[in-house]
């Protein structure tokens, strides 16, 4: 009866391809991912186009001058105007008055924010920054760097060192990253590019699995509530229906991936990003498809007992949490793709697809590990499908109250 599963698959595929939800997600996803992955980087690296007023309350009374000089020489607009204008808020005011004035000026947008430099800063190394916009890390980062420099220089010269020597001693070093592949080829690659590549890969995987998982659970709930399931069950076995659904959904995923692959190639050609390594492409696709099928089975197992739209949404929300977890791992994997922790995580089936998609993007793992993880995924899919089949068979006919976990475990045990 394999052909009946294929018929179900063909129907599920065709009906969902035509559905609005799918078409919207197909178009919306690159937009959202583009927005999430590219825009922040774009804004962060954006050239400064206007000057900013910053207030200073200098408890030491000697830092503000060298600070202003350093900022002037370092950060300038394209037409050679300094970016940062410092306003000394402590002139002729007590500390309290200075602070009150600072708060007033922030409120009226006369200044972006103000720094309070306590008199004991040389010992504590702590400076306070008050602003409406705490999230603007660019100012904080730049100022803390300049403060560091100024304070170090002042300390060093207080030990009697000559200013020129101090500048030589505190010279900054910049590191230019060059990626070396396993074949020993060098390619210039930036942190941003690797980050974007892995981030986009992971985002696509998660988005696709979630949108289609939602479609799957909703269609199961619909079939249950309108009793179409009974007509289906009088035509073929529950296994046919389940396998058909999973196949149809995976077909949807493959189609989606092909569309994005074409988009990706076009993007890569345009931006000269190094996306075109064939093995990166191939393995990302393999892990994505396997992950897709594994999660489809998970969605069937978890979603088939649902009887209402709300329950279905709750279930998708829980699984989403499981899926979003790997985002916390991006940095970890990027910093050390060969650490023991990353290796261990690669062998937890629900995480395997996403962790491996990350690893493939950052540094191609050894062939043995690729082989082992693919094998692991295949075995997990087989087990998960078996469990899902057991649950699905009974769950699709249970209406009304949602079964408890122990009931579901009993269904799986039943032969």
């Amino acid at each position: 009866m394999k052909s009946k599963a294929l018929k179900v698959a063909a129907w599920e595929f065709m009906e969902k391809v035509k559905s609005k939800a799918f078409i919207i997600s197909l178009i919306l996803m690159p937009v959202i991912i583009g927005g999430m992955a590219v825009l922040p980087a774009f804004f962060a690296s954006k050239e400064d186009t206007y000057s900013i007023q910053i207030g200073i309350i200098d408890g030491t009374e000697k830092l503000i001058e060298p600070l202003g000089e350093k900022l002037d020489s370092k950060y300038r607009l394209s037409h050679d105007q300094p970016i940062y204008f410092l306003r000394n808020l402590s002139v002729g005011r007590s500390l309290e008055e200075g602070r009150a004035e600072g708060a007033r000026m922030i409120a009226s947008d006369a200044i972006e924010g103000y720094f309070y430099i306590p008199s004991f800063v040389f010992d504590s190394g702590k400076i306070e920054y008050r602003t409406k916009n705490v999230g603007n890390f660019k100012i904080q980062e730049r100022f803390s760097r300049v403060f560091e420099q100024v304070i170090t220089e002042m300390k060093l010269s207080s030990y009697g060192l000559d200013t020129a020597l101090v500048q030589e001693l505190t010279a900054r070093v910049e590191i230019k990253p060059i990626k070396i592949s396993d074949k020993g080829e060098e390619s210039e690659t930036s942190f941003g590019e690797t980050f974007a590549k892995s981030y986009v890969g992971l985002l696509m995987l998660i988005f696709m699995i979630l949108t289609s998982g939602q479609l799957l659970v909703r269609s199961m709930v619909e079939e249950k509530s309108n009793r179409v399931i009974e007509v289906l069950l009088s035509s073929c076995t529950p296994r046919d229906i389940m396998v058909g659904k999973i196949l149809g959904l995976s077909g949807l995923g493959v189609l989606q991936m092909l569309v994005y692959a074409v988009l990706g190639v076009a993007l890569a050609l345009k931006t000269n990003m190094n996306l075109l390594q064939p093995e990166y492409f191939a393995f990302t696709l393999v892990y994505a498809i396997l992950g897709y099928v594994l999660y489809a089975a998970i969605f069937v197992a978890a979603g088939s007992p649902a009887t209402t739209e709300q329950e279905a949404q709750q279930i998708t929300a829980y699984i989403s949490m499981l899926m979003v977890a790997p985002f916390a791992l991006i940095m970890l994997v990027m910093q050390n793709p060969n650490s023991l922790l990353v290796k261990v995580l690669s062998y937890i089936p629900v995480l395997t697809p996403s962790v491996m998609v990350l690893r493939v993007a950052i540094q191609m793992p050894p062939a043995g590990e690729i082989f082992a993880t693919i094998l692991l995924l295949l075995v997990s899919i087989a087990i998960m499908m078996w469990i899902a089949g057991k649950i699905f068979r009974i769950a699709i006919l249970s209406y009304g109250k949602r079964p408890s976990l122990s009931e579901i475990i009993n269904w799986v045990r039943e032969k």
Binding site: V8, E15, S225, N226, V228, V231, L233, S234, S235
Partner: protein
């Protein structure tokens, strides 16, 4: 065609069906009756192999359910519903395809049936754009498009207007003529009375009445004769084999001591009155149903 013996199904200690035995022949309309929760749906589901019985045998032409059986059964569930967003014609073709009929073959059939139900021009619209009654027609088409040998319909007439009820009745009789075995489950006694050859009445999971309809009626037959006449009916009370007579001006209800003497009565009355109507009143299925299900011990004991 279908033979079910001693079916039993239990859910978590609650007995849904116990000891149901029934037989449906080709070309027979079989009524599956019972109050709500009696076990009709469970019986249907086990016949269709949707659920497995705990005990009992189900045979189709002497063979148990196999992979080829899927394609010879058709089913209309009681609660209606279809894929709301899908087109009518593609939904019909999909279900036909699942029953092993290629779209090439099923498309002209689907168009034929849609035309008969007056839906031909709607066939490219979405299901959700149809009225409930029209959706039900689409579901009916789905249930018998593949020309099943066994067709199971749960409350097929509910929700249809009188015109379409007649249309459906005609179609069912045509299918019956072609040799299809049809089971229909319902509470609508008049439909059963007019159409069914045999019935099985289930109550609380157990079969309480089973067999050919006219046999059952005979078994529950009363001794009542209703007559309409011209003339004086006063003498009716004097006839020795009439136990009781309600005599009105031109109408009387008579209870005989023995219904087999009705011909004798007819001849006797013909001599004395101008008879307009002479009717041996069968109990309606409705009254049998109420009697049996209402828990009358007398009737239950008759059936063991």
């Amino acid at each position: 065609m279908l033979k079910v013996t001693d079916l039993r199904k239990e859910y978590d200690g609650v007995i849904a069906v116990d000891g149901v035995t029934l037989e449906v022949k080709r070309g027979e309309l079989f009524g599956l009756l019972g109050p709500n929760g009696a076990g009709k749906t469970t019986t249907i589901r086990t016949i269709l192999n949707i659920i497995k019985p705990d005990r009992g045998d189900i045979y189709f032409d002497g063979k148990p359910f196999t992979n080829s059986t899927w394609n010879i059964v058709g089913y209309l569930p009681e609660e209606r519903g279809l894929y709301r967003k899908s087109k009518i014609i593609s939904t019909i073709l999909y279900f036909a395809n699942l029953k092993g009929i290629e779209p090439k073959k099923s498309k002209p059939l689907a168009i034929h049936w849609l035309e008969r139900f007056g839906l031909k021009n709607e066939c490219h619209r979405k299901i959700e754009e149809l009225s409930k009654g029209n959706q039900q027609k689409v579901q009916l088409i789905i249930s018998f498009l593949h020309n099943p040998q066994l067709l199971i319909l749960d409350e097929p007439f509910a929700g249809l207007d009188p015109v379409n009820q007649i249309l459906l009745k005609d179609i069912l009789l045509e299918l019956k003529q072609k040799g299809t075995a049809i089971i229909f489950s319902t509470h609508q006694m008049e439909q059963v009375e007019k159409m069914c050859d045999s019935i099985c009445l289930i109550n609380k999971g157990k079969p309480v009445l089973n067999g050919e309809l006219h046999e059952i009626k005979k078994r529950y037959g009363t001794n009542f004769v209703h007559i309409e006449y011209e003339g004086s009916g006063e003498f009716l009370k004097e006839i020795e084999f009439i136990r009781r007579a309600d005599v009105y001006q031109n109408y009387a209800e008579l209870e005989l001591t023995d219904i087999s003497r009705s011909t004798e009565l007819l001849a006797y009355l013909n001599e004395r009155l101008l008879l307009r109507k002479f009717e041996i009143v069968e109990p309606s299925l409705n009254s049998i149903f109420v009697n049996v299900v209402g828990g009358s011990q007398k009737y239950l004991s008759v059936n063991g």
